[in-house]
Amino acid sequence: MRIDAHHHLWRPSRGDYGWLTPELALLYRDFEPDELRPLIQAAGIEKTILVQAAPTEAETDYLLAIADRTDWIAGVVGWTDLAAPDAPKKVAHLAKQPGLVGLRPMLQDLADPDWILKPDTSAGLSAMVKHGLVFDALIREAQLPTIVELARRLPMLSIVLDHAGKPVMNGAPRQNWHDAVKALADCPNVTIKLSGLLTEAEPGAEAVALAPYFDALLEAFSADRILWGSDWPVLTMAASYPAWVAITEKLVAGLDAGARAAIWGGTAAKIYNISL
């Protein structure tokens, strides 16, 4: 089974996205399940993980309602303020909602890059462990050491690094990204999303430009710790859904069937506990 482990859906008029402004002309419109459905069907994808895009619980509720009436959305990665005094209670409540599989604080947008390591968030993170929620890490490359530290401190917290840690992509992979990827791969609680790379790459990038990054991920993590995601509709700023699927096919072409199946969905099913 193929799973798109990372996409979004939004309506800008809901008004809580912050980062989503009219200047982002391609993205500043409604994206609904009806638009995505034919794209995933054409790619042979049966299930998806819907990921938050706004730092509010209202958006998480909105996403859970969509997931509830959309049979191919297998899980939602939502949001709550992990530093709130009542975070453990909020996490426990969210974990009870059908379809909620993880949480994603929007670390890349926070003023303090190390916010997640502060004592304020520890009770909320413990609650995530207790209730079996996955931590999706949305960061910029410069924050990779923070996630390494988080993964080492909390070996039971299942951490998925979104978009391969958003490497700065002009030419070959940079040493600090590569080192951090290896350090994260040494932590058995970390998995990594093969997603978002076309958005970081030079316009018009093909598989050949992504290959050094993919190879580094594969060598460090191996296929059973890599999850494929589209990052649609953010993807559409760089390429179409079928174009990213085709590039991924080229990247994984040399792997055996088991490894390809893991990247295309097996890992996601395991990490997000999706019944096949």
Binding site: P88, K130, H131, V134, R152, L154, M156, P188, N273
Partner: protein
Amino acid sequence: MRTRLVQRAGLKVSEIGFGAAMLGNLYHPMSDGEAHDALTAALDAGMTYIDTAPRYGHGLSERRVGDVVRARADVILSSKVGRLFRANPKLKGDGERNGFRSPLPFESAYDYSYGGIMRSYEDSLQRLGLARIDILYVHDVGRLTHGHDHARTFAELTGGGFRALEELRAAGAIAGFGLGVNEWEICMEVMDHAALDMVLLAGRYTLLEQGALAHFLPACVERGISVVIGGAYNSGILATGTRGGEPPLYDYAPAPPQVIEHVRRLEAICDAFAVPLAAAALQFPLAHPAIASVIPGLGSVARVNDTMTLYDTAIPQAFWVRLRETALVPPDAPLPGEA
């Protein structure tokens, strides 16, 4: 059994102590004879630090503990304050209440005020039938227990409860006081309001999770606060492992898949070194310099004997190093056997 100094209270406690919750009929009734035998076996084995609480069986654990230790000179005893127990004639039988199958017809109400703490202490002496308690822990304070009522209960404690404990300590009635809690975050908050001698922390620094390592334990070392670790098996999963018939428990509930997966990784390394998982779980917290004692909950002679075997199990240094190398414990977590 080795002992460790509780610096600020001037006491020595056994490295493995006796958690007496089960003596309050936790989940299952036990006879007075079984309780007596279990505690006597523990004391004879050198587990001379005993922790009880009014909550454990609505007074039953304190009664049983007191009856055994009254004749012993070598015991260090802690109990807890923060709840007052009142008789209720309508309470009959030993149906489970708050987890305990105790027939004692008492029900509790939180009271962290000056008067409440003093009365809780006096009530404990009466139930124990003892003239002295060495250590008092403020029980279950914090957001985890009190939620939206946290601000009020915390204000009660800082507005009078701590003064009661400080007076008892100044008068020499107790050797020290602290908190007995499931979260370390509240302890950090309290350190600014009271000079804690000890903290009894359940479940938050174990072989399975080390959330207390980054912020809390260094603060304790800095201030000379001694930490006692309860729940070293995290409600059972580190004692039973993942291979038994029953779903393993973590933090009082069935363990989620990620936790089970993590324990399986620990079990794989235990297998490679022929180390019992429970032995590693019992010994791991003691490597940290802030920690004075680990107190598993014990309810039978057999469990006492098992615990002593686990405590005495020789664990190769290479086992601990492997845990660190495979990132199953944080790189800065002290390991047994390291200087």
